[in-house]
Symmetry: C2
Subunit: 357 residues, 2 copies
C-alpha cells in the first residue's frame, strides 16, 4: 500500500456550495485542510483555510490556486476545459479530465454509455431546427429536449408531446446545442454512489430510491424497494463506468428501473445529493470516501448499518428544520446559505428509520 497524502496537506475544491462544504468537513476528519475556489457565495469557506473568490476564466487566480494546493477536486462538473488545463499543469486533479468531458455534455455522455453496452433512453443530437424531425423520429414522442451542457435540477429542458410543438420547445433552449431523449417508462428511479481509488479498487454503496418533485430531488430512501438482482446490476453498471473512465473519486449514477431492467439516466462525476444518506447510514460517508480516494487512502467498504430516508430542505422547507430535529433519529444538515430562495437547496435531513434490514 502506498502512503496517503500527508496530514495537513491542502485539498483544493472548485465550487463553494454545500457539496464543497461537506467535502471540507470530511477532509478535516482525515487531517487535511481545504482551499475553496468559487466565483460567488461560498458557504464552504466557513470550514476551509482559504478562499479564492475569482471567475473560472481568471487564469492568474487559477494558477495561484493550483500552486497553493496539493491535490484538486470539484463539487460540480461545469468547469471550463481551459481552467482544467491550467490547474492540471501544476497539481493532480481528480476525478480526471475524461470524466468531466463525458459528463459535461449529455450527447457525449449518452454515446459513452452506449459504447459501454449500457442501456440508455433513445437519443439523438439536435444542432439546429433542421435536425428536429429526424431526431424525434429516432426517439419517438413524447420526448424531452435538453441542452447538451449546463443543465441541472430540471433546468435547460423542454418537453415535446406532438410534432407541432417541437419547434417551440426547441426555441426555449435558446439555440444551445441540444439532444432529444425518448421518455422511459420506469417504475422507480434509483441511484448508486460508487468510488474508485487511485489503486483501481472500487467500492459501492447500496442503491437508494429517489423521488423527484419539479425536477429536483426530494427524497432518497435506503434500502430501495427493488430485487437483490437489480441492486447487483446497479453496482456492476457503476463499476463498469468507473473503470472505463479510469476514474478516481466518488461518482453518482442515476438509473431508471424498467420492466426490461436498468436504464442509465445520467452520471455525475462528484459526490451526489442522492448519496447524502450515507452520512447517517455508513461508517464512511460519500464525502469521506471521495477524500479517501483522491488522497490515496484505502476506500471504506460502504457497508450500510442503518435504514435511512434523506429529505431535501428546499427553499422555505428549511424553516421546518428545528421541528424535524426533535424527531427520533433525525440528523440535520443546514448549508449556511445567507438567503433562502424558492427552489434552492438549503439543507437536508437524514432520518434513521432503524438498524439495517
Amino acid at each position: 500500500m502506498t502512503e496517503p497524502l500527508r496530514s495537513g496537506s491542502v485539498i483544493g475544491i472548485l465550487g463553494g456550495g454545500q457539496l464543497g462544504r461537506m467535502l471540507s468537513v470530511a477532509a478535516s476528519r482525515l487531517g487535511y485542510r481545504t482551499h475553496i475556489y468559487e466565483p460567488g457565495a461560498a458557504p464552504a469557506a466557513d470550514v476551509s483555510v482559504a478562499l479564492t473568490q475569482a471567475r473560472y476564466d481568471d487564469l492568474d487566480a487559477l494558477r495561484a490556486f493550483a500552486e497553493a494546493c496539493d491535490v484538486i477536486t470539484y463539487e460540480f462538473e461545469n468547469i471550463p476545459a481551459e481552467a482544467l488545463d491550467i490547474l492540471s499543469e501544476t497539481t493532480p486533479l481528480y476525478p480526471g479530465r475524461r470524466a468531466l468531458e463525458v459528463s459535461q455534455d449529455r450527447l457525449t455522455e449518452k454515446r459513452f454509455l452506449a459504447e459501454l453496452g449500457l442501456a440508455t433512453a433513445a437519443f439523438a443530437a439536435i444542432d439546429g431546427p433542421d435536425d428536429l424531425e429526424a431526431a424525434l423520429a429516432a426517439t419517438g414522442l413524447p420526448a424531452i429536449l435538453k441542452t447538451r451542457r449546463f443543465g441541472y435540477d430540471g433546468k435547460g429542458q423542454a418537453r415535446v408531446t406532438d410534432p407541432g410543438g417541437a419547434a417551440e420547445a426547441l426555441s426555449m433552449l435558446e439555440g444551445a446545442p441540444a439532444i432529444a431523449e425518448g421518455l422511459v417508462d420506469f417504475s422507480r428511479e434509483i441511484s448508486v454512489i460508487a468510488a474508485r481509488g487511485r489503486d483501481g479498487s472500487v467500492a459501492a454503496y447500496d442503491p437508494g430510491e429517489n423521488v423527484h418533485v419539479d425536477g429536483i430531488l426530494a427524497t432518497t430512501t435506503v434500502p430501495a424497494a427493488i430485487p437483490a438482482a437489480l441492486r447487483t446490476d446497479a453496482v456492476l453498471i457503476a463499476s463498469r463506468i468507473l473503470n472505463a473512465l479510469d476514474y478516481v473519486g466518488v461518482l453518482g449514477v442515476e438509473l431508471f428501473v424498467t420492466p426490461g431492467g436498468l436504464i442509465v439516466n445520467e452520471i455525475a462525476p462528484r459526490v451526489h445529493n442522492s448519496g447524502h444518506w450515507t452520512q447517517a447510514g455508513c461508517a464512511v460517508d460519500q464525502f469521506e470516501q471521495h477524500i479517501r480516494a483522491i488522497t490515496g487512502w484505502p476506500l471504506g467498504d460502504g457497508t450500510r448499518h442503518a435504514d435511512v430516508v434523506m429529505e431535501n430542505l428546499i427553499g422555505a422547507d428549511v424553516n421546518r428544520a428545528p421541528a424535524l430535529a426533535s424527531e427520533r433519529g433525525v440528523q440535520v444538515h443546514i448549508y449556511g446559505k445567507s438567503e433562502t430562495r424558492a427552489g434552492r437547496k438549503m439543507g437536508h435531513v437524514n432520518r434513521v428509520t432503524g438498524p439495517a434490514r
Copy 2:
C-alpha cells in the same frame, strides 16, 4: 418551542484542539460558523472562520472575542475564572460558570457529588504535609494523591501504598493543593455522555465501557457489558448532575462498576473522548448534540443504531490509520496536529461492529 440561534451565527470556542475541531464541524452542519480562542496550536482553526491566538489572561483579546461571538462554549475546563467573568459580561456562555467551578477542582467536585447523594471514592483534602496522616486514615491505603486542579490524562497524580511513602508522593505534586482518594475496587470503567438543553430537556447516550492504558483512554466499547439496571442507573446519575448544575450542553460522567453499584469517578463539563463512538453509532453525535443544546435546537434522542468500538490513536499509533481504514466498518478521524508526540492524542477510529444489538 423557541427558535434556535439563526443560521450563520458565530459560536466562540475556547480551546482549539481536536474537541474544538469536531465541535466546529458539528456547528457547520447546523449552519453556524465558529471562532476559536487558543493560546497555542489550533487544529480547530482549519475548520473555523476566525482564530484569536492569545492567552487566557489577555483581557483585551477576551473582550474582542466575546464581542465577535453570538454564544461561547469551551472544549476544556481549565479556564481562569477572570476570563469567564469578562466573556459572560458580553455573550452567553454554556455550560455555565457553576459547572466549570465544580469540575475545575477535584475537592469541590467530590463534595458536590456527595451532597447530591452520589457514591464517590473516599476522599479528603490535603492542604499541606500536616494533613497527610488524617487524610490517609480517611481514605485507607493504597490511596492516590491528586492535585485539586489542572490534572488530565493521569498527570498530577501520585500513588501511596504505605504510610512511609506518603510524604514523597505528596512532594511530587510540588506543593499544589491536593486531595487524597481511596482506591475503588471496580470490575469495569464506564462513562455516560448526556446533554441538557436550554429548556431543561435531557438526553443521554448508552453508556460506553472504557479501557485506560497508562492513565489515557485507549478504547470505548458500546454496548458496555453491564446489566440493563446499571445502564439505567448511569443515565439517572448523569441526569441528576445535569439538573443540579442547571447545565446546558454535553457532559461526560466517568463511573466505576463495583459489586455495590456505580461510583462516580469524575465529571467533565464538555464533549468527552469516551463519547467519540457516537460519530458512528448515532444519528446525532455528541458534538452536534452539544451545539444543539447551546444554540437552542431541540436535543437529538441519542438512540444508538450500531455497535461501535472506538480506539484512540496515541502518538505513533496514527501511522496505523491507513491500514485500519481499509478494514470493514472503520471510520477514521485524524486531528491534523502538526507534530506526532508520544502520549499525544493524534486521532481515533470508530469501528462499527454491526447494527445495534
